[in-house]
């Protein structure tokens, strides 16, 4: 359980994170979406007590992070896979964390095994690791204390498609067993497949949040008929607004309503489907449009 209440971080006059609030419930994966520089990482660092918020508060399992007695046993954190000592071996990096957490050394081997870093890789210095291997090591570190909450910043970066697929399975499984997952990404496709809930941030502000289905439904329905004019008339008769889109008419209603309207008017459809991820992508793009360019020149 993660609870974020009105978190704000200002650097000088500029708010990097502006009045952000959301909750992550046990048993769910929350995708934290936004373009680069939107404030995702800053928000996550504030949740983990690494950055002091200008205003607002965040709790993990009911406590401010800094007040958790042994945070690694409650929350697994992966904020930057590159933040490892280049001169330590993967195994050594995990061993240090295991000592700090008061865990048995066997946990190190078990977690290395879990993330797919074999004995050869574990003995290598992190300097020689690819970004994908560093992500796996970081994930092993996050999972080390068998936490109930996972906070992962762009964990899919550098993973190959097989690795991304594997990680989705791992996170889904973790949530299905009652865990809470918050993972960020700047790529919609990456979180869409695994998240139950989405929190979309742009320019430091939350621009949309809700269940994935809710946000998807907001995308509307795509419908197509051989007789385009008849279809438009049918939709108009049913009081539905239709907009042109690349692959048919985009209607702000669910498929059942649209199908019924067409049927009532006797129009034969060639296609009827939820706008689906395309709609969500549209939403993501429009919600965050301009933000990324503004970030880039700041």
């Amino acid at each position: 359980m993660i609870s974020v209440e009105n978190l704000t971080k200002r650097y000088g006059p500029h708010p990097a994170v502006d009045d952000v609030s959301f909750q992550c419930e046990p048993g769910t994966v929350t995708g934290f979406l936004g373009p680069n520089g939107a404030g995702k990482s800053t928000t996550m660092r504030m949740i983990c007590g690494l950055t002091t918020p200008t205003a607002g508060r965040a709790t993990v399992s009911g406590h401010p992070y800094r007040e958790l007695p042994n945070p690694g046993r409650e929350v697994g954190v992966l904020l930057d896979a590159s933040a490892q000592h280049a001169g330590r071996t993967g195994r050594e990096a995990l061993t240090l964390s295991a000592y700090t957490l008061g865990l048995d050394k066997r946990e190190v081997a078990a977690k290395l095994d879990l993330v797919g870093l074999n004995a050869v890789a574990a003995k290598r210095r992190v300097r020689a690791y690819s970004l994908g291997m560093r992500q796996r090591l970081g994930l092993a570190q996050a999972l080390l204390g068998d936490p109930r909450v996972l906070i992962l910043d762009e964990p899919a970066n550098g993973l190959d498609p097989e690795g991304i697929f594997w990680m989705r399975g791992l996170l889904r499984d973790f949530a299905d067993r009652g865990g809470t997952v918050l993972l960020s990404s700047h790529l919609l496709r990456e979180v869409e497949a695994v998240a139950d809930r989405l929190v979309v941030i742009g320019g430091g502000r939350i621009v949309a949040q809700g269940s994935k289905d809710e946000l998807l439904a907001g995308g509307g329905t795509v419908v197509r008929a051989r007789d385009d004019v008849a279809l438009r008339r049918a939709l108009e008769a049913a009081d539905l607004t239709a907009a042109d889109s690349a692959d048919g008419l985009l209607v702000q209603a669910d498929a059942e309503t649209v199908g019924q309207a067409a049927s009532d008017a006797g129009v034969a459809l060639t296609e009827l489907r939820p706008a689906g991820s395309g709609g969500l992508e549209q939403l993501f793009l429009t919600l965050t449009a301009g933000e990324s360019t503004r970030e880039a020149v700041r």
Binding site: S41, R45, C48, G49, L50, T51, T52, Y65, R66, L68, P69, N70, P71, G72, R73, E74, V77, L79, D80, A83, Q84, H85, A86, G87, R88, E92, A93, L96, S97, Y99, T100, L101, G102, D113, L114, V115, G116, L117, N118, V120, A121, R124, S130, G132, M133, R136, Q141, L143, D146, R148, V149, D160, W166, G169, L170, D173, F174, R177, G178, G179
Partner: protein, 265 residues
């Protein structure tokens, strides 16, 4: 990729633990001690100190006058390599967390940063004490060899000599750590540590009005009496205390405040 194996599926169920306790300071100190030796840089820094100590004692055995080949001479000379390199160890133990960005992990696991800093200071103090033990051991071997090869080989092992050695080594390693905490940047801290107190030596020599303050602020002068077997006089203690207040206690305090509030990213 050849270095990754097919991961075992599942087995990441969140478990409910019995209430967990925070890591003890002892545990954190053990972790920090391990960090001093688990990288090539750290390990070689310590090995270098040991090798240079052996080298200087060997040189003394070959070139020093027979009458000077006493335990006291060997011991005091053995302190010098560590006296130069221990501050670097102190600096690195603090700053490498930031330069290598491991602070992100360290302070995520132990959000009470002052406990990590305390553990680091204890760890480098232990390293300084260990360096004095090495000096005693190497000096003892040197004295034995000297008595066998015609040198004086005198054993005048006063407790004051050893205690002075411990004080000076602990002082320099903490000064290093203090500069590291304050500047949080390896090159800056090393240059600062070497430059600032030395600046006083130079200025004290050149500028007449500064000669007085330099006696109190130049650590190379205030620590000099510690490389001897005599107990320090009241005045010498006073000057040592003032110089350490300025170059160790103040940066340590300011550095702690800075470290506690710094954003980790």
């Amino acid at each position: 990729m050849t270095t990754t194996t097919a991961p075992t599926a599942g087995a990441v169920a969140p478990r409910h633990h019995s209430p967990v306790r925070r890591p003890s300071l002892l545990r954190l100190t053990a972790v920090e001690l391990r960090k001093l030796v688990d990288t090539r840089a750290g390990r070689w820094l310590l090995i270098t100190i040991g090798l240079v100590v052996v080298a200087v004692v060997t040189l003394l055995l070959i070139y020093a006058e027979d009458a000077e080949q006493t335990f006291g001479t060997f011991f005091v000379t053995s302190l010098l390599p560590a006296n130069v390199l221990l501050p670097v160890l102190g600096i690195l133990s603090i700053t490498s967390e930031w330069s290598q960005r491991t602070a992100l992990t360290t302070y995520a696991l132990v959000p009470r940063r002052e406990r990590v800093v305390a553990a680091k200071l204890i760890a480098v103090v232990l390293a300084a004490v260990a360096s004095v033990l090495v000096a005693v051991a190497v000096a003892s071997v040197g004295t034995l060899v000297a008595s066998a090869t015609g040198g004086a080989g005198t054993w005048q092992v006063g407790a004051t000599l050893i205690v002075n050695g411990v004080i000076v080594q602990v002082a320099v390693v903490l000064m290093g750590a203090a500069f590291g905490l304050l500047l949080l940047n390896t090159p800056l801290a090393i240059v600062g540590y070497l430059l600032l107190p030395t600046l006083w030596s130079v200025l004290g020599e050149m500028v007449r009005p500064l000669r007085g303050p330099a006696e109190w602020l130049d650590t190379s002068r205030t620590m000099e009496p510690l490389f001897g077997s005599d107990a320090l006089t009241g005045g010498q203690w006073g000057r040592l205390a003032v110089s350490l207040l300025v170059w160790m206690v103040l940066p340590l305090a300011a550095g702690l405040v800075r470290t506690l509030h710094r954003e980790v990213s």
